[in-house]
Symmetry: C2
Subunit: 300 residues, 2 copies
């Protein structure tokens, strides 16, 4: 399963029972936390997130609505007796903030917290089956987006074909890697002996950002893209002046990036109803959804 | 009106939809915030606290469950366009933490934040009608309790008596201060010309603390006392080792301090039901109540 669960979809000022930004990415057995606004640990309780499965946390930038829940979560992990290492990928100054907070409270965490300062762009996590990479977005302070990508999946054995051509089991691993089967007198093409695996899936999260065409390249062809839409289209001047985007801009970027599905979030507390965000965005990019709290978007 | 509204009654690990410590004190037109655990601003939304009336915030100590909601609240005040000065009374290191957080987020608050480092014991706020003082309690790190006291109220004019004895209106202010009315040939006692005002009321909050008899002196005779009861009586060893108290210890202190009403809070996340806290405490101090979230305790 590859999916995204929304824990918070509001911009900085909590309102209408909407919470500041936090998302949990599920990638098979792995969980990842993307941003951690105030109240994230309570939202995890509410939505029954198996928080102990989270070994990597990514913080896009140091506006409070994206990290003020982190000190509490880190402390609670300690109180819950967590022993597994925790990796935190975040802008460098967060390290000082957390150290100061842990020191003044005389807190010794029972687990190891690895701090990885974000710096430039590139791969942050390189697993056998997936990768997580970061890219810079356009905000008032340093801010990063993240892309989660499954790795190319090996081809699957076609048992009827391998039996027919007497391919020994010892050769199966090489078949899965795409090799043809060659004997003294014949070459059996790999496509005959194997079947394609499921296509690789991907998710891109562009955090808080101005609309900027160059971001389309960073998120090109992903299955699911999250783009902030703090304001509706009539507030595009305000969006620009605050380094945020509108519904229309988010949809335009989704179209430009040729993604399959767009989810919108980071709604301003000016808006009680979110209907208009969807209406505006769908005019440009029909496959748009609202990042509603508690909802999981499964990538199929 | 003099009352205490509970926004959070749980100890460090949020559980069962109970939140970390925060209380709002209402004293006539003034509101005060006592501690500010994660999620306090959301709890303020939920319980419709008029947050703009708060001009003083008191933080007892720097364990996260007592202040991790403060950076968010301070930032939200800015986003809401607050202009009134805000006074923060807290352990000194919090100043560095907040400054660091405001700096890295490039936040300029539109209001003035006055930081008053807690240091020793004594009066923190000295208003015409009330005072707030702090006292040291016994916790693993520096920790303070707070007492809110109304000041002595002036006596009230008895209009029938002042008419009968022809006391001029110009003398009324002196009557209210307790003076007798003296003419050439007679002395009319103040008690005849005035009536006593309502008795002064007081609230004491002892934050997180070990049971310690000396605290009774600090909270002597208050109308309403909050004392933490992290554990039930069977966990008194654990309470002591963690610098916390039990239900029984809180009740014993209330008795020793001769308070009118005791409220218990800071319950461990081990306990889903809180009934037993009340049962145990009432054996020693019958006028005990649980600090339930959303509840307001009015001092009568």
């Amino acid at each position: 399963m590859f999916g995204v669960t929304i824990l918070g979809n509001n911009s900085a000022l909590p309102a209408y029972n909407r919470h500041p930004t936090a998302q949990v990415i599920t990638l098979n057995d792995h969980l990842f936390l993307l941003d951690c606004g105030e109240g994230t640990q309570m939202q995890m309780n509410l939505y029954k997130i198996r928080r102990n499965r989270i070994n990597h946390i990514f913080i896009s930038h140091l506006h409070g609505d994206h990290y003020f829940g982190l000190p509490g979560l880190i402390t609670s992990y300690g109180l819950l007796g967590r022993l597994n290492d925790l990796h935190l990928h975040a802008p460098a100054p967060l390290h000082d903030i957390l150290n100061l907070q842990l020191n003044v409270s005389d807190t010794q965490l029972p687990y190891k917290l690895h701090f990885h300062a974000l710096n430039g762009e590139g791969i942050l996590v390189d697993d056998e089956n997936f990768s997580v990479e970061c890219f810079k977005v356009f905000h008032r302070i340093d801010c990063w987006g993240f892309v989660f990508r499954e790795k190319r999946k090996r081809r699957k054995i076609n048992p009827e074909a391998t039996a027919k051509y007497n391919v020994p089991v010892s050769f199966f691993e090489r078949l899965k890697e795409g090799e043809d089967f060659t004997t003294d007198d014949k070459v059996i093409k790999n496509e005959i002996l194997t079947k394609p695996n499921k296509p690789v899936k991907s998710y891109a999260y562009s955090a808080d950002t101005l609309y900027h065409e160059s971001l389309a390249e960073k998120m090109k062809n992903v299955n699911l893209m999250y783009h902030e839409a703090t304001y509706l289209k009539d507030k595009s001047d305000k969006a620009t002046s605050r380094y945020h985007s509108t519904s229309i801009q988010a949809a335009s970027l989704a179209k430009l990036a040729n993604v399959k599905t767009l989810i919108l979030g980071h709604f301003s507390s000016k808006y009680e109803s979110l209907d208009e965000f969807l209406i505006e965005a769908k005019e440009i990019f029909p496959n748009t959804q609202l990042a509603l709290e508690g909802q999981t978007f499964i990538i199929t």
